[in-house]
Symmetry: C3
Subunit: 147 residues, 3 copies
């Protein structure tokens, strides 16, 4: 990795980016697989391209996968900006491992729990990611102003 | 902050990242608070975990908070990439303050105006953010090619 | 551009960021133009501000533009994080051109094909972006661990 991305914090952050986007790509394919299996598509022309009559139904499994995906957009994508800022504050190795590892674990679990309808597990995974993000924001703000 | 994140432009950008993601986290909690108060949840299993019968209603207040949040996804998240590029073009202090400060202010106001149903205030805040983003794109493109 | 953003890979990545966010801003305006032309708005107060009675209709053209936009959120925004990591692995010039250029082209085409209801063109453009992203993830992971 080219500097300044060669520090431990940036390398861990980069790894978490790769893992989390991979997870999002798998979720997108999971949604597509449900659509293909159930023949429930997003756009009218998709039915035509499959030689099927157009339907306008809301499938609970597709809706569930899409909710999990939207929750990723709301949490993982902001993390990519906050995580980079946090890595640039030169956190301790322990801080980097806890924040990046904790957030990544929380979000992988969140998707698994969402797709498997596990409650309150899903809420706990969401809360872990939420507070990891909040902690990185507060810690980074402290570094921006205090140092 | 480690170099190259120690310049004024990157520090202001980093601050705007922290403020805007904090704002998005508050909005997410605001949505959750409405859901808990009104007992209107996103997934069927959420009703079960609260000991309630499953409902499928579309609450106008939840829908409003979600629209504000989706508008954030469409505007704030692209800004995180464009703002980093703009900061890397070594803008003037005035440019950095105006773009990063202006965009951040616009998006905080957008959320407040959306939740309080203030029109045309919301449209004006949206337009301010939109044109700040457009300006950063054009200014960065100029720097990429001309210098 | 300030170091380390002065390498070819980072400059190409920065250019793709500017092109893709510009594309997203154009799509947002396209959606607004449909809304204004058809008088179909997102929020009840928008009707009042236009002096119109509130409606709750789901317009197929607005829904189409919004689906294209959401697909951008799910693919372009994760690319901004993965592309930065990939650029930091100091890829070859050919790799940078293929990945950044290929992804950008794929996503511009995806929007055009979506709005024009072109199938299976849209699916092919989506797949090209998907596999470009997957390739950048695998290539970056290799660089993170092997070097």
């Amino acid at each position: 990795m080219t500097p300044p991305f060669d520090t431990l914090a940036f390398r861990l952050f980069a790894l978490s980016v790769l893992v989390l986007v991979f997870k999002m790509l798998v979720l997108a394919s999971w949604t597509s697989a449900i659509r293909l299996r159930k023949k429930i598509f997003a756009a009218p022309e998709d039915y035509a391209s499959q030689g099927l009559p157009v339907q306008d139904v809301r499938d609970p499994d597709v809706a569930r996968a899409r909710r999990a995906h939207r929750n990723d957009l709301e949490n993982i994508l902001p993390y990519f900006a906050v995580g980079a800022v946090y890595a640039a504050t030169a956190p301790s190795a322990a801080g980097a491992w806890l924040c990046f590892g904790g957030f990544t674990l929380a979000r992988v679990l969140h998707t698994l729990f969402y797709l498997n309808e596990r409650m309150p597990h899903r809420t706990l995974a969401y809360a872990l990611g939420y507070f990891a993000l909040l902690w990185m924001i507060l810690s980074s703000a402290w570094s921006l102003f205090a140092r």
